[in-house]
Symmetry: C2
Subunit: 356 residues, 2 copies
């Protein structure tokens, strides 16, 4: 017997309320709308989703009832019946700074426009956390999944293999994607940074980023930089690493230490613009003129990059476009346009300002 009915009386149904300003603790359901409109639940359901399949008069009656009861369809129930949740999940390494902000924004806006909701997870740059997020999102029966990067835990791959849903990996590229990839080549970005330094006669390069233990995206950029150093006949770049999600505080200290240990350093490539801003300050602290004595190249083209002094020269990543494209790729697969997995290289671009 219905717990709900039991709580409300013996009529077998909660008493319908008549006026628009009634406040009800239990939200209206389809049956109540149907009863009020004098039609079956199926007709209400149709009226809501395919108004053109319903007689104009019926439609009006239903709409009135919906308005009167303040009815909002229960999407969980709908998800059960259709086996589609209209939820898409995205996992990004961090929500603590601007790095992935525009990507998330791009995702969210395209998805909302198509009637999907975005569920966000924050892996903290940890692949096991990512796996556990994937697990819980799959439990929510999300319709598709966005993963940042192309390195994943085995557990993640197994889960995804079992569940067979559209997946996009973003912010990097790979020859063996899980599903689609929408990003840019981090190795190429590192190489470009090196060329930029080489062209300006820099001979003592440095890199500031996360420890490339798992060969993440930061590590790939370092690899690209090293390749160019070798090709240009320049010494291998010295490195400084920050652990905790790339905070500016850690970056500032790391750059100070690096400059003290390697005073000849004349070019520094930073893994993001927050780090680069901190590096700018560290250079000032050591009395180094930027870019005369030290070139500083950022990554990400954050909002503030154009307005520091000196203004940051940085690698611009089309973050928002990555998010928007990833969303479109997934929607195309979901809406059954027959589109298979897609591989998109959205590139990057060095924005020259003052710091390098």
């Amino acid at each position: 017997m219905s717990r709900r009915t039991a709580a409300l009386g013996t009529s077998g149904e909660p008493a319908p309320l008549g006026t628009a300003d009634d406040v009800r603790s239990t939200p209206a359901r389809l049956v109540e709308v149907a009863r009020l409109a004098g039609v079956s639940t199926m007709t209400v359901s149709r009226a809501l989703r395919r108004p053109e399949q319903v007689a104009p008069l019926t439609l009006r009656a239903v709409q009135r009832a919906v308005a009167q009861l303040g009815y909002l369809p229960d999407s969980a129930a709908s998800a059960m019946a259709t086996r589609r949740s209209r939820i898409i999940a995205a996992i990004v390494p961090t929500l603590m700074n601007s790095v992935y902000a525009s990507t998330v924004h791009g995702l969210a806006s395209v998805l909302r426009g198509a009637g999907y909701e975005l569920m966000i997870g924050d892996s903290g740059y940890d692949l096991q956390t990512e796996a556990s997020l994937v697990r819980s999102f799959l439990g929510r029966r999300v319709d598709a999944l966005v993963l940042t990067g192309v390195e994943h835990d085995d557990a993640t791959r197994q889960l995804l293999a079992r569940h067979d849903l559209p997946v996009v990996e973003i912010w990097d590229l790979t020859a063996q994607p899980i599903g689609s990839v929408v990003g840019f080549s981090n190795v190429a970005a590192g190489r470009e940074a090196g060329r930029y330094f080489a062209q300006r006669g820099r001979r003592h390069w440095a890199f500031l980023g996360t420890r490339p233990g798992r060969e993440g995206r930061s590590g790939k950029r370092l690899r690209g930089l090293r390749e160019t150093a070798r090709a240009a006949g320049v010494a291998a770049p010295v490195t400084a690493f920050v652990e905790d999600g790339m905070s500016a505080a850690a970056g500032h200290a790391a750059v100070l230490a690096l400059l003290d240990a390697h005073p000849h350093t004349d070019a520094l490539f930073c893994a993001n613009d927050a780090l680069a801003t901190a590096a700018l300050r560290a250079a000032a602290d050591r009395g180094l003129e930027v870019p005369a004595a030290l070139s500083i190249l950022g990554f990400g083209d954050f909002d503030v990059a154009a307005h520091t002094s000196p203004a940051l020269t940085t690698v611009r990543i089309p973050g928002r476009e990555i998010g928007a494209s990833a969303a479109r790729v997934l929607l195309a697969q979901l809406d059954g346009n027959g589109r298979g997995p897609t591989h998109m290289d959205l590139g990057f671009e060095i924005v020259q300002r003052e710091s390098a």
Copy 2:
């Protein structure tokens, strides 16, 4: 008849698969686990949620079956049965910059720890968009809602009145909250900024923020600043407004214009640190020394604030703690600890560095 069964054969159920490495297109369901373990679905359900209520041997059998099938409970189905989605939604004005990043992070981490998922919406500082997000989140039957600010559309208030779920408003305070409030007084922050300027002998104040049309949080800060100006016998602050989500680019231009129009300005209060960073640059562009000629006071204490040159003096908001506390307030209400709505003033603090 079952659409699913029809698609898979005549057995009335999809054929169970035997080995762990089988790849199945349809995720395993409770019945299949039950069959494999030789028990009823209820026993599996219990084994998963209250292992202590199940005989050890049965438990083992169930766990084996779960592992073998890679079973993940369907939380949408669970939501239907229990009438609890274990999803909490939060609406923030923007995801495009760092302002609400730590708040979202605080929310997400506390909620995940309690087995809840966070669904995020981005209102773009628009109350109608907020209303439409609220509508769709209520349709998802979220268990609770976090709203930024205390100004809302009528539609929002009506929807919430009908649906009666725990709500927290954050990042501000009010005497008439919808449910709980966790934040700080924006008016007081504005007043404090004024006192800070007054104590340092500043006489020509300026304010950079969003247009206070709807008396939002930025407008309240301006109001506080004005009050102090009056009390201190100083001229009313001149103002510059940015429209588009407070971008640094717009801020830079606005400050330039303001400094040209009001060259005597000796104190500037910015609505966030991205704006303040841009203001730092604008002051440099005009040859003004900071803070000697112009004090610049930021808001938010973003990651980079400590590492600009000069380092930003700014109003620190406990963003992460706001998120975490809001989450805890909601959880307390949901887990039926009998806790009613809560009012928390988490305050703020001026962090003195170099720019003011």
